[in-house]
Amino acid sequence: MIWEFELVLFVFLVFAAIVALEARNLLVSVVMLSVFSFSAALLFASMGAVDVGFTEAVVGAGVTGILFVIAIHKTSAKTND
């Protein structure tokens, strides 16, 4: 794997995590968590763990995002802190 590409993915990962923590709107946090999961899946695949990356992409970026959106739909999209 080209190390420059992995570096870009790592920067993207940290950026997505910080934005997901700091965002005021929780919907933004959910989308950024999906971005986090997807770049983590790409990193797993680049390290040779294709099966783990596949599971991370399907569950972390797909199903968990939908469940978070349902949870926001049940409550409110604004944080109180």
Binding site: D51, V58, A71
Partner: protein, 146 residues
């Protein structure tokens, strides 16, 4: 969310995308013994295609694809396929989940092992798909309809 309204663009996009996701899920399940993937990932992909339709088009339309009452029996059938295969091999004299003891005539042992793994993965895929859709249905049960 403050207001909810139906958008034809979202509905059309989801309708165009869902069959391909489902097809890819079936591919992942049925090629799980040669390539990356398997029962869990394929089942999660199948569940993702059903959930996409549920999110895009409310519960009334999407229950035509997979009804709410079907998911629990489907999961039970998946678990029964898994344990039935294992127990059948055990009743016929080999170990639990020892695929070479399966009673399929006219198959060499290595091919029998592939077939056993395939049967197991179909069961796992059914169970995972049904469980994920069931979790969504239970969470969205009292959803605000328009």
């Amino acid at each position: 969310m403050k207001r909810s309204f139906e958008s034809p663009i979202t509905l059309l996009g989801a309708r165009a995308l869902a069959p391909f996701i489902m097809m890819f899920g079936l591919y992942v399940i049925f090629h799980g013994h040669y390539s990356p993937g398997g029962g869990f990932q394929g089942g999660a992909l199948l569940a993702a295609s059903v959930l996409l339709m549920r999110v895009a088009s409310g519960s009334k339309t999407s229950s035509l694809i997979l009804s709410n009452a079907v998911t629990t029996p489907m999961g039970v059938v998946g678990v029964l396929i898994y344990f039935g295969t294992g127990l059948l091999a055990m009743l016929l004299g080999s170990n639990f989940l020892d695929y070479e003891g399966l009673p399929i005539p006219g198959m060499p042992p290595y091919y029998l092992r592939y077939t056993g793994i395939l049967i197991i993965e179909v069961g796992v895929g059914l169970a995972v798909m049904a469980a994920l859709v069931l979790i969504y249905d239970k969470m969205a049960d009292g959803e605000v309809t328009e």
